[in-house]
Amino acid sequence: MEILSNLAMGFSIAISPYTLLLAVIGCFVGTIIGALPGLGPANGVALLIPISFSMGLDAISALVLLTSVYYGAMYGGRISSILLNIPGDEPAMMTTLDGYPMAKQGMAGEALVVSGVASFVGAFIATIGLMIFAPYLARVAFKFGPAEYFALYMLAFCTLGGIGSNNQAKAAMAAAIGLGIAMIGLDKTTGMPRFTFGELHLQDGVDFLVAIVGLFAVAEVFFFIETHGKNSAIGVKLGKILVPWRMLRQTTGAMLRGTGIGFVAGVLPGAGASLGSFLAYTAEKSVARDKSQFGKGNPRGVAAPEAGNNAAAGGALVPMLTLGVPGSGTTAVLLALLLTLNITPGPLLFAERPEVVWSLIAALLIANIVLLLMNVPMVKVFVHILSVPAWILLPGVTMVAFVGIYSLTGSSFDMLMMVGFGVLGYIMRKLEIPTVPVILGILLGNAMEDNLRRAMVLSDGDWTFLFSSPIAIGLWIAAVLGFIAPIFLRSFLKRPPLPETEPKVGD
């Protein structure tokens, strides 16, 4: 077993009291960074890079610290999603849909434990997948050209209806707003700026973190002010945290499905954790018999996206390490770190620097176990940070949001834009338009358009190119089914489960 001996070597390098201490610190800081709105894994890791340089850490210690922060932030994002209805980072967005309703029904503790375990399952299986399949999976990326990516994003948009449970038209409108915002910035296919009005700060487009923090956190502040805290999300009570074994058993399937989907989305460069958690959620909803429960506090709606986004985080390391292609914003930052440490990820990394790869994998496994311990038995510690009285917490959240957004580029323009998004979020909530599709539009719109345009350049404008490979055709079929199936299935499925699920709504 070559893998086991390699892994043993990795552990022998990674396990020292010093690196373990770094892992614990990294996990803790990461969880907090993830839980704080505005600070996500990407800027958390970016902020810590200069610190790890000034601490004079060697390559492996720096990797242990920063990957712990990375995984920690992926775990932490769910805490504020569930307790505050503000996603701590973009992949945790889907967790708000069912996590917050659960918390409102007094099941905050259960939601945190289920999502914590789901995070562990997703991340742990993904790390093992990374270990075993990385060299083979690297080849998958070669099969995905512009046409295939475009079909993949179409699949995501076609299943978008799955999240706007109340009013599909409003969800579609919100997604269109998001797509419109995604158009801002430099157009890669012509090199010309679009909708920037000569403003330099708009040339890179709108950072989705600015949009998320504005739409969720700042809008929440406006709501809080308007209602004097009465209708605000802040202030969910958290009772004793017990491990809800029954609920964990019920959600095992959801976790495993979420892990699979998330891992595949992570492995494809250009898809990433947000797409992973989104597809995990919509897939879970489509296989579930009691669809009406989703969006109202279904534990499976918490388990699937959390497993999905953590598995995607592990999956995203595959193309980053084996091809040097970052699958997400955070892995882009980690890639930059590796390059500065004189480690060049690429097809030869596993052969040339096995000590780096295997100690990184060992570090990921260690970080996962530390995080499981921190996030299930010790989750109260983090909850305490968020459960101070609202009149202290909200100014704090606002401040961290501003600091986090300022840290993105170091310009005040993004902060103003964030406030603008806050106003938009407030208006949208008043009109009961969901804000999640806006973020998805911004996140996926750019990549979808870029790939369509690239496909058109490659094929000289021949649209049949989009259906020219088996993978693309398969994805198109899935997309069409994802769009049409709910319309026909609704009439079949709606009647029988209703009586069974009715009593559950009340409690």
């Binding site: 907090i32 050209g145 890669k188 700060h201 970052p326 930059a336 097809p347 580029t409 310009s411």
Partner: protein
């Protein structure tokens, strides 16, 4: 626990907002990128050599591909003698294309370059094109038969490398050249290995792994001479196309400083460029020697910008 939050917040504050004392290097991008690398390495070596009295403070000021930093230096720090800014081919390319909101290259003073990342053109290992000449002939025969993938947007430096090469090779209809811009050199490689694009253009340092693993075959390096460590890769010049495209690493300083201060920076950069520490950094990071200083560098920048403007007009990016 609140202390922890405070500590975390304090750490975040210090990492982004240390008061500017002594020498400062502005990296117009986030930590980890090429400009950040330039600032950190040059700053570290300056301190080690004793060229500057204190540690060089690195400030990251990302946005608009360097445009935010450029306009801030021009508008707010025009007479600050203690600041220098990391720059590369991307900086002059965007200036030439008027992508910095109306800023012009003569609003700062160009100090010099101390190294460069040679441009390369590669094809998939099983490609029918064996030499640069093969590729150029194929494009001349049918421009739509070859699509290039590169790590920059249309009009960016990777795209220009192809266009300048073809221009020198006597292919004038450069608007017909197919190019797709993806996110970085490695991504461009996957599109090429996957067969979606027929050739890839980028910087040598970003794709050395793929060359060594045999996934791709480099058919030309766009430097004056063959590059150390890649002796079997012929230059474009050897194949009869007189093109050199180096992604240079250098710095500029504000316009309003005195000639003495400017000279001070030129000398300081020269000392770094000639130091053993820098030679080591270059070999470790796949950079090739490429040094031009002072007046010569200002001329180089002006020529480079004129060349980019000509090509950009040809492809319709500039009116």
């Amino acid at each position: 626990m609140k202390n922890w939050t405070k500590a975390a917040v304090a750490a975040i504050f210090t990492s982004i907002a240390v008061p500017a004392a002594a020498e400062e290097c502005i990296a117009p991008a986030n930590p980890g990128g090429g400009w950040d690398f330039t600032c950190r390495q040059i700053g570290r070596i300056m301190t080690e050599l004793g060229v500057v009295p204190d540690l060089v403070q690195v400030t990251n000021l990302a946005g608009a591909g360097g445009g935010v930093a450029y306009s801030q230096v021009v508008n707010e720090r025009n007479d600050d003698p203690n600041v220098f800014i990391a720059a590369s081919s991307a900086t002059t390319t965007r200036l030439a294309q008027n992508a910095f909101g109306g800023a012009t290259p003569d609003q700062v003073r160009w100090v010099g370059t101390i190294g460069g990342d040679p441009g390369v053109i590669v094809v998939a290992a099983d490609s029918e094109y064996k030499t640069l000449t093969d590729l150029v002939e194929a494009i001349k025969a049918d421009p739509s038969s070859v699509a290039f993938a590169g790590g920059s947007a249309v009009g960016g430096f990777d795209h220009l490398k192809v266009l300048m090469t073809l221009d020198k090779a006597g292919f004038t209809d450069i608007r017909k050249v197919k190019y797709i811009g993806v996110d970085g050199g490695a991504d461009a490689i996957t599109q090429t290995v996957g067969g979606f694009a027929q050739a890839m253009t980028g910087d040598l340092s970003e794709i050395t792994g793929f060359i060594k693993s045999g996934d791709v075959r480099p058919i030309a390096v766009l430097s004056e001479e063959r590059v150390e460590g890649f002796e079997d890769v012929p230059t474009a010049k050897e194949q009869g196309i007189d093109i050199v495209a180096m992604n240079w690493r250098g710095i500029y300083v504000p316009k309003g400083i005195s000639d003495e201060d400017y000279q001070k920076w030129v000398d300081a950069l020269k000392q770094v460029g000639e130091s053993e520490e820098w030679q080591k950094v270059m070999t470790e990071n796949g950079l090739a020697p490429y040094s031009i200083y002072g007046e010569d560098f200002e001329t180089f920048v002006a020529d480079n910008i004129a060349q980019v403007q000509k090509i950009s007009k040809d492809i319709g990016l500039l009116q």
